[in-house]
């Protein structure tokens, strides 16, 4: 350990921040003698903070917490951020960020999206409740065989789920793993999977679809998503 390392004076840094009369976060961090690019604020707690219009470009924020923070128009380009953490911010989709972070954040938001907010029938709603599935993420890696164990639903509900999950780019796909049984027979295993894509426009469409469903649920006082089909129909 060299002398410079030892000489970091926390009290002097704290005083320097206190005397810095700025609302610019980068200036406050600079006053504190912290290097945001080298990881000095990698686990900073931004929860409940108003960070709109702040410039955090290139910062190492890989373990930072953004719970209920407001980050609209904040510059997060080239920053190291956990996509799972950034979606905790209220308006994360309005922040400026790299396209791969944005796409990963959208898929993280898809995984966390509650299944009961999908446009599904009461029967399918009961089906997912019976399987104790809460979010789209709970479906990941679940195959048709496991889903058909439910006593209150079956293939019809799985088909409806597939249809409702289409706009999220979540689909049933064949497992590519080598799962040959003892007789050498290949058993295709269908499981839910998010189609990965670098297409930013596609990601934006998913985001819009999620917002649409959220607003739909907020407006509807009843849990029923779709009228129960009658024999007349």
């Amino acid at each position: 350990m060299n002398r410079d390392d030892i000489d970091f004076d926390w009290a002097a840094s704290a005083l320097s921040v206190e005397l810095c009369d700025s609302t610019d976060l980068s200036k406050l961090i600079d006053a504190a003698d912290l290097d945001p690019f080298a990881g000095d604020v990698s686990d900073i707690d931004f929860s409940n903070m108003d960070l709109r219009n702040q410039n955090m470009s290139g910062w190492d924020l890989k373990n930072a917490s953004f719970t209920n923070a407001r980050i609209a128009n904040a510059n997060l380009k080239k920053s190291k951020i956990n996509p799972e953490a950034i979606i905790d911010a209220d308006d994360w989709f309005q922040a400026e960020m790299d396209s791969d972070l944005r796409t990963n954040a959208i898929f993280a938001a898809v995984r966390r999206f509650p299944l009961n907010k999908l446009e599904i029938s009461i029967s399918t709603f009961n089906f997912i409740n019976d399987l104790k599935l809460r979010t789209i993420g709970d479906l990941m890696g679940l195959n048709e065989l496991e889903m058909s164990k439910s006593k209150v639903g079956g293939k019809k509900n799985i088909l409806e789920l597939k249809e409702a999950l289409g706009p999220f780019r979540v689909s049933l796909m064949e497992d590519k793993r080598d799962d040959r049984d003892s007789f050498g027979q290949h058993n295709p295993d269908l499981w839910f999977h998010i189609k990965s894509s670098d297409d930013v426009y596609m990601a934006e469409e998913i985001l819009q679809h999620m917002e649409k469903l959220r607003n739909l649920v907020q407006k509807k006082p009843l849990r029923r998503r779709r009228p129960i089909p009658t024999s007349d129909n």
Binding site: M1, D5, I6, D7, F8, D9, W10, A11, A12, S13, A14, L15, V17, E18, L19, C20, D21, T23, L25, L28, I29, A32, D33, L34, D40, V41, D43, I44, D45, F46, S47, N48, M49, D50, N63, S65
Partner: protein, 310 residues
């Protein structure tokens, strides 16, 4: 932890006032095999007077004071051999404190609580019968005395339920030669509150009696004395709460930024709120950097706040 410059009286570890850790070892023999009992004393408290000293550019001496408390922490104990390696597979950790996650343990005891209830009753009754005839004195009298002694023995079987409260706010997981304890505030009967914080000694049972952290066995035939047990307490920045930061000079005057009033009055409160929050969060990062410079470790999103060896 010890490289504090002699001309600087700021504490090398400002967190030493809120978390203190001591480890101790004792060798015991179980079924002829030597084992190592690890005792830990891990105490948390809230400090309302963290203190450091510095000076402004114009030479005024300033005391930095703030309150500090910890909302949640994790405690890790690991074993290293004399070469500093983790002896995977050769070291087993047993009897880990708080390894049971149960909130309440109910125990119903039958056999131990059979109570023998013996009842003895005695009664003596007297019956005097007198008969008088017309013929005179011929009288017949009979006295019948009845003495009755009754003795009965009944066996009542009672079920006695014992309820023992476990500390559900602490849970442990262990694998190989490492043990992790997750320590949350609150007692088993209370739900967590947002303003809760850690206080008191961790390694106590429900009767406030000290308990051992764990027992270590070594299976590679090497002496347990060569084994170093290292304990570290880790905290996430979100769980470190800093409050009431004050900068006071030697005359007792509070030091503030000079031109706070330049902001528009409409957003003044927002600006003040932002600055207050931002400065608190940045102060935590300052302390984190200081701890890292002092040689403490970072484990993902957690930073080590104290360490002990035995």
């Amino acid at each position: 932890m010890r490289q504090q410059p002699p001309d600087n009286n700021n504490p090398a570890n400002p967190l030493i006032k809120v978390a203190a850790l001591e480890l101790d070892r004792e060798y015991i023999s179980v079924e002829g095999e030597q084992r190592l009992k690890v005792a830990a004393s891990l105490t948390f408290q809230r400090s309302s007077d963290m203190r450091g000293k510095t000076s402004t550019k114009d030479g005024r001496k300033v005391n930095v004071t703030f309150g500090l408390k910890i909302k949640r922490a994790s405690f890790k104990v690991e074993c290293k051999d004399d070469l500093g390696n983790s002896p995977e597979g050769f070291v087993l950790v047993d009897k880990v404190a708080f390894s049971s996650p149960l909130v309440v343990r109910s125990k119903i005891e039958d056999a131990a609580t059979n109570t023998r209830h013996t009842e003895r009753r005695g009664s003596i009754g007297g019956k005097l019968q007198a008969q008088a005839g017309a013929e005179g004195l011929g009288a017949g009298a009979s006295v019948n005395t009845q003495a009755q002694a009754q003795s009965s023995s009944t066996q009542t079987q009672k079920r006695q339920a014992k309820r023992r409260f476990e500390r559900a706010n602490i849970s442990a997981t262990h694998a190989g030669s490492e043990v992790y304890w997750e320590i949350n505030p609150g007692s088993p009967n209370e739900s967590l509150k947002l303003d809760d914080f850690l206080v008191g000694n961790v390694f106590l049972d429900g009767n406030r009696k000290a308990i051992d952290a764990c027992i270590v066995r070594r299976r590679d035939g090497k002496p347990l004395a060569d084994l170093e047990v290292i304990g570290s307490v880790f905290v996430g920045m979100k769980d470190l709460v800093i409050e009431d930061i004050e900068f006071i000079d030697d005359d007792g005057m509070e030091i503030r930024p000079s031109n706070l009033s330049e902001h528009s009055s409409s957003g003044f409160m927002d600006v003040l709120e932002f600055k207050k929050t931002a400065k608190e969060r940045i102060l935590k990062q300052i302390i984190r950097k200081h701890l890292i410079k002092q040689g403490l470790r970072v484990d993902g999103a957690l930073v080590e706040i104290c360490r002990a060896f035995t």
